[in-house]
């Protein structure tokens, strides 16, 4: 007991004195409560002398001058009677007044604005419960209440009105199950007498009314705004949510809104809208009411013991933005990696293969201070760069023999490689793909809408590649995690509805053309959909407008918020191992960028450069952030998303096989392809039919999702490296690298250096050299000993990984 007390006192003393509060701010400034059912959340912010803000909503003291008019609990005001009152708010000696007017009108529970949002908030209509396509336990609700007509039927009519009992509301199954009066597999959602229970009960008691002609909700406002920074230990924040309706009225819906955190390791949010932070970082809180979704980004910072900003260079704006974030979160950036690491890293990223021994030696020996920038330029201009990056686009554009036939694969691949080699501006590249017509053989980008073989595929692929959005969910229902609605899906579909695909009978040739007419109808309500695009909204296009060209024009306009961001994020992810938005093709409100200003700056630079992809790569690769060492320190080990140190990652399947070929001196021969073609340069997976590549994650290219390329470790992979035939054959090959070197009469030290340089772009350390020399000395069979050494090298993480 004494010890506990002692610790308590000690902690209290150790806490730094809180800065002085200079003023408090209460939101909203005035409250109007129209109906007895309404409530209003107050938020109280303390502004501190050091410029910081602190949420003190639940620490402030509230006093009502006329407690007969309204009551307050947990900073939530509820009306009691008609009248006006002052709400006095006090904290740390500061005082603010809020004027409250209550009209105490009576209104029925609104099916659309109360009942359905509540069922959504309670989780009933979530995808894992009754919102699943077939519901649960025979009871099915539309996912997140996107289909009120269906829910009306289900709740009031289906199975002869089984679920609601207006004669005896409390006996309704809709109340008995979630309150566990009747066993409910979904567990308890509320208790009898709770606010939520009462709302549902009242709706039933009022006859399960489904009001017609209610004003629609037009806007959801969440306060505080995005961007609040909370400093430990004050890591809580109360949110307040207001819905505005078409008739000009507004209502506090904090109690009906659904809250979700984008990263529940960083912060969580309870059902009343109170956010609690757990660790340093950022979390976006998603707020949903009806089909409206808003998100609020909150940053949680704290003082870290021993944190000091190290002396590291800032090469360009990338480093400035990264450093700003790192400083704020108190993660220390790593310094530059050594030359050997850099030369290996940048070769793998730009041309996909390991540097040769000569390249490594020359680079390390180069005394010029700007040699890294020089090497980046050299590599960007090498034909191998376009060949390697064509593999990445081949994945995205689904180049496979199965989809478009071998002749088209080769032509399409050549077109992509050509575009990359010529550094075709990205807007032109995208436009070419989206608007190509005619023969897929004579005009290869026409294959874009061949692999996207129907309207829905065309919408989903275009959204995935160019908008970084996985829109497919919205085909059947409003997207559960973001603002995409079913209307949006079919509105966007009308850009692609007229595309026709005709086989010409000439081999695999397909003719891509457009019909003169054809509209999309909404599957639920049969409405004819106007072409719709994000931000632009519905577009009034002339009857004869080329809709694909219109889409491309919208897509590539400088103010399109998606196009440039998605591509710079993709470039970033390919060389950094992780997107600023990650997964890097999954842009959504619930998945905010780890560093929004950085993403914005790269996107702006990209637009300004005329969509020059090489320019962006050059900027990224020349930054300290890219060139940072991969080793973590105590001050940045916990950082996995703010780029404080370089992220190691395993070589891709094709890179790995090329690297094994290079290190062993026995490259993989691919049947039917030019003898010097590397695995990283193969136009389609079927053309390099090697089991090893499949095992290490080479995608079949069935979808435009980056996720198809698997980087998960598996037993199969481990076994391949341990004693797979592919490796074994090369170790034993009479003409492999070490046998050639030995045959040429090289000394052990030289051979070992050669193997190390080839595999790891460095020479062995003294300790390594000692072990190897000892191994050779005690081995009777020198070749077998070298086989072991090479095997061990190829199984080193340092070889298998880019670092």
């Amino acid at each position: 007991m004494m010890r506990c007390l002692g610790a308590l006192i000690f902690t209290a003393l150790a806490l730094p004195a809180a800065p002085k509060v200079s003023r408090i701010e209460v939101q909203p400034a005035t409250v109007q409560l129209m109906h007895l059912r309404d409530s209003a959340q107050l938020t109280v912010t303390a502004h501190l002398a050091d410029g910081r803000v602190m949420d003190v909503t639940h620490e402030a003291k509230f006093t009502l001058s006329n407690p007969a008019v309204a009551g307050i609990e947990a900073a939530l005001l509820r009306p009691k009677a008609v009248g006006a009152t002052e709400v006095r708010v006090e904290y740390a000696g500061h005082r603010e007044n809020v004027a409250l007017v209550s009209e105490a009108k009576v209104r029925a529970v609104s099916f659309k604005h109360d009942t359905l949002p509540l069922l959504s908030k309670l989780g009933c209509s979530s995808g894992s419960c009754h919102g699943a396509p077939h519901g649960k336990g025979g009871f099915r609700l539309s996912l997140r209440a996107f289909d009120p007509a269906l829910d009306k039927y289900t709740l009031t009519r289906e199975e002869l009105g089984r679920r609601t009992n207006p004669l005896h509301p409390a006996a309704s199954l809709l109340l008995a199950k979630p309150s566990m009066a009747v066993a409910h597999e979904g567990g308890r959602r509320f208790r009898k007498g709770d606010e939520d229970y009462n709302l549902l009960r009242d709706w039933i008691a009022e006859g399960c009314q489904v009001q017609a002609g209610e004003p629609t909700c037009v806007k959801l406002t969440v306060s505080p705004d995005s961007g609040r920074v909370l400093k430990h230990p004050a890591w809580t924040q109360q949110l307040r949510v207001v819905a505005r309706f078409a008739d000009g009225t507004q209502r506090d819906v904090t109690r009906l809104a659904v809250f979700e955190s984008s990263d529940d390791k960083v912060a969580d949010i309870d059902r009343t809208g109170r956010v609690t932070g757990f660790r340093r970082g950022e979390a976006a809180v998603l707020v949903r009411y009806l089909e409206h979704i808003e998100s609020v980004l909150i940053t949680f910072v704290r003082d870290v013991d021993g944190f000091a900003w190290p002396d590291v260079p800032q090469k360009n704006y990338v480093d400035r933005h990264v450093d700003t974030k790192l400083r704020q979160l108190q993660f220390a950036p790593a310094g530059l990696c050594d030359d050997g690491t850099f030369v290996r890293r940048v070769h793998l990223d730009l041309i996909g293969t390991l540097p040769t021994i000569a390249e490594t030696d020359a680079f390390v020996a180069d005394p010029r201070p700007n040699k890294r920038a020089q090497l980046i330029d050299t590599l960007l201009n090498r034909p191998a760069h376009a060949k390697f990056w064509a593999l990445k686009w081949g994945d995205l554009l689904r180049l496979s023999v199965k989809q478009i036939g071998a002749p088209s694969v080769h032509k399409y691949h050549r077109w992509i490689e050509g575009a990359l080699a010529a550094n075709m501006p990205y807007d032109r590249f995208a436009t070419a793909l989206l608007t190509a017509r005619g023969s897929t053989l004579r005009n290869p980008p026409a294959n874009f809408f061949r692999t996207a073989a129907n309207r829905d595929d065309a919408v989903e692929t275009s959204a995935q590649i160019f908008l970084g959005t996985r829109i497919a969910c919205a085909k059947c229902h409003n997207h559960p995690f973001e603002r995409w609605t079913q209307d949006n899906y079919y509105g966007m579909a009308s850009f692609f509805n007229r595309i026709q695909r005709r086989r010409t009978g000439k081999g695999d040739e397909t003719w891509i053309l457009d019909a003169k007419s054809g509209e999309v109808t909404h599957p639920l309500n049969g409405r004819t959909m106007k072409p719709w695009a994000p931000v632009a909204g519905e577009m009034a296009l002339s009857a004869e407008a080329d809709r694909r060209r219109e889409f491309a024009r919208w897509l590539t306009s400088a103010d399109n918020p998606f196009f440039a961001r998605v591509e710079v994020n993709r470039l970033w992810a390919h060389v950094m191992g992780r997107g600023i938005v990650e997964p890097f093709d999954d842009f959504r409100d619930t998945n905010p960028p780890a560093n929004a200003p950085l993403l914005d700056a790269l996107a702006a630079d990209f637009v300004k450069s005329g969509y020059d992809r090489r320019h962006i790569l050059r900027v990224i690769l020349n930054s300290r952030t890219y060139q940072a060492a991969s080793s973590a320190s105590a001050l940045n080990r916990d950082d996995r998303k703010y780029f404080s140190h370089y992220r190691t990652r395993m070589l891709s399947a094709e890179q790995l096989l090329d690297a094994i070929g290079e290190v062993t001196g026995i490259p993989e021969r691919l049947n039917g392809l030019p003898p010097d073609m590397k695995c990283t340069q193969v136009p389609a997976p079927e053309l390099a039919n090697v089991g090893f590549l499949k095992i290490f994650g080479q995608p079949e290219r069935q979808s435009a999702c980056e996720c198809e390329r698997s980087d998960e470790s598996s037993l199969e992979r481990a076994l391949q490296l341990y004693n797979g035939r592919l490796l074994d054959r090369r170790l034993k090959d009479g003409n492999n690298r070490f046998r050639r070197a030995l045959a040429a009469g090289k000394a052990d030290a030289e051979v070992i250096d050669e193997l190390y340089l080839a595999a790891l772009s460095r020479r062995p350390s003294e300790a390594e050299r000692k072990i190897i020399t000892a191994h050779l000395a005690k081995s009777k069979d020198r070749n077998a000993a070298y086989e072991n050494i090479l095997w061990a090298l190829l199984n080193k993480t340092e070889f298998l990984f880019q670092h």
Partner: protein, 457 residues
């Protein structure tokens, strides 16, 4: 934590519980399994530990199974030994992962005390058959009175004509209402009935009314009333969820009922006992029907199938999956032994063969369909598009009549002489037609005292 440790801890905990329970004095009288404990087990446990879903391999739907061990290997109950009764441990542990009912509050201390006392006293069954369904052991509840006047409407989910062809029985709320069909006048209110009535059947001799009823998610019953005075004769069957249909056999010697537990129950009229408990369906049995000589029954289920079962042969004869959706109504062909009609959520009336489950004919209808009724050679199909369609069965099936309500038509009945049709609507209204001239004879809200309110459902 090992099992031994758990037991030790549970023993310590038990002392605490014992102190706690000391404040809730359980009466000195013996605990009755069927009266005191079976209702708790049915309500709190059976949804996860019943015939459909036996979580952890443990079931509580019969006394015998309650005592047995689940997958964990510990017996559910060891008479006289609390610390060897997994069930008691599960009710009292404060490990939230282990305590039952899961994700809910613990049972009230007074209920736990009942289990404790009963197990300690030897866990005796105060009923004859340890293999009987718990629901059949629990004494039938006394139902509350119906509302004096109906403040709101409820759908008329079941109708049946009396032998005279004028008296009409209609479903109510905790009652069956009795009307003069021609005048729309209330004759009597039959009380002591379950919350909602989903199926009504009058015996061929006109003396008995069987009602399939229940409270959604909680109780299902088949009750037998005298038609003459509305007195309750007996409760023929009980279940944990609603009974949806019941039908007297053509001779009146047996009844068949189906309900939300997927079981089909055949009852012997003379003994008032269940003779067959047939687990024919994996989901609700919406409707049941007899063939002309009372040897086969047909069933329609939410499991998307309809079945024909031979009571004589004791086996299933046909399973028809043609609807591909909830099957709502079923009737044997009046003349062709081998054929059955069904209606379903696929908005189709289907005619199919028992011998090969093949569709003979299907007719699309503009709304989801409810229970079928057969009258002579005609069948009547009520639908959510407000229409009741009449089909003539001999030869090629064809529509020969169309009757309309103001809301969903959810139930129909015809008089024994086939001259009169009554239909019940979702809005609580009943309409009666003379089938000879298709004229409406009466329209009335079959809800005593109900005044049309402004409702929008």
């Amino acid at each position: 934590m090992t099992r031994i440790q758990k037991i030790k801890i549970s023993a310590i905990r038990e002392i605490c519980v014992w102190f706690l329970l000391a404040t809730f004095s359980v009466s000195a009288a013996e605990v009755s399994f069927k009266k005191d404990l079976a209702p708790i087990l049915i309500q709190q446990c059976q949804i996860c530990h019943g015939a459909k879903k036996a979580k952890g391999g443990y079931r509580v739907d019969t006394f015998e199974r309650l005592l047995r061990a689940g997958d964990g290997g510990e017996p559910g109950i060891t008479p006289g030994k609390l610390d060897a009764s997994e069930l008691f441990y599960r009710l009292t542990t404060d490990d939230p992962d282990e305590r039952m009912p899961q994700d809910a509050d613990p049972l009230p201390a007074a209920q736990v005390a009942l289990f404790k006392k009963w197990i300690a006293a030897g866990a005796k069954l105060d009923a004859a058959n340890p293999k009987a369904q718990l629901t059949s052991l629990v004494p039938a509840p006394t139902h509350p009175d119906p509302p004096k006047v109906y403040p709101r409407s409820i759908p008329i989910t079941a109708l049946a004509f009396g032998a005279d062809g004028e008296t009409l029985f209609a479903s109510g709320y905790h009652e069956v209402t009795v009307w003069n069909a021609i005048e729309g006048k209330l004759i009597r209110r039959i009380t002591r009935e379950g919350e909602r009535t989903y199926g009504l059947s009058v015996s061929p001799n006109g003396q008995w009314l069987a009602a399939a009823s229940g409270q959604p998610g909680r109780l299902g019953e088949v009750r037998l009333f005298k038609t003459t005075d509305g007195k309750l004769d007996s409760v023929l069957a009980s279940a944990t969820d609603v009974m949806l249909d019941v039908a007297f056999s053509p001779k009146g010697d047996r009844l068949v009922a189906g309900g939300a537990d997927g079981e089909v129950r055949v009852m012997d009229f003379a003994t008032r006992k269940i003779s067959h408990l047939l687990p024919l369906h994996s989901d609700w049995v919406n409707a049941v029907a007899w063939d002309n000589n009372g040897s086969r029954i047909a069933t329609a289920s939410r499991d998307h199938t309809a079945k024909v079962y031979s009571l004589a042969a004791g086996k299933s004869l046909a399973t028809y999956a043609g609807h591909g959706k909830n099957v709502r109504g079923v009737a044997f062909h009046p003349k062709v032994l081998n054929e059955v009609f069904t209606t379903g959520m696929d908005k189709k009336l289907r005619q199919w063969k028992v011998s090969d489950n093949k569709t003979v004919r299907e007719i699309g209808i503009g709304g989801e369909l409810f229970k079928l009724t057969r009258a002579g050679e005609a069948i009547f199909a009520p639908a959510a598009d407000h229409h009741i369609r009449r089909f003539q069965t001999p030869g090629q099936l064809k529509q020969t009549g169309d009757y309309q309500l103001d809301d969903w038509a959810v139930s129909v009945a015809t008089s024994p002489d086939g001259k009169r049709l009554a239909a019940g609507g979702f809005d609580g209204k009943v309409r009666v037609w003379n089938l000879e001239d298709a004229k409406v004879e009466s329209t009335f809200a079959a809800l005593p005292g109900f005044k049309q309110a402004t409702e929008n459902r």
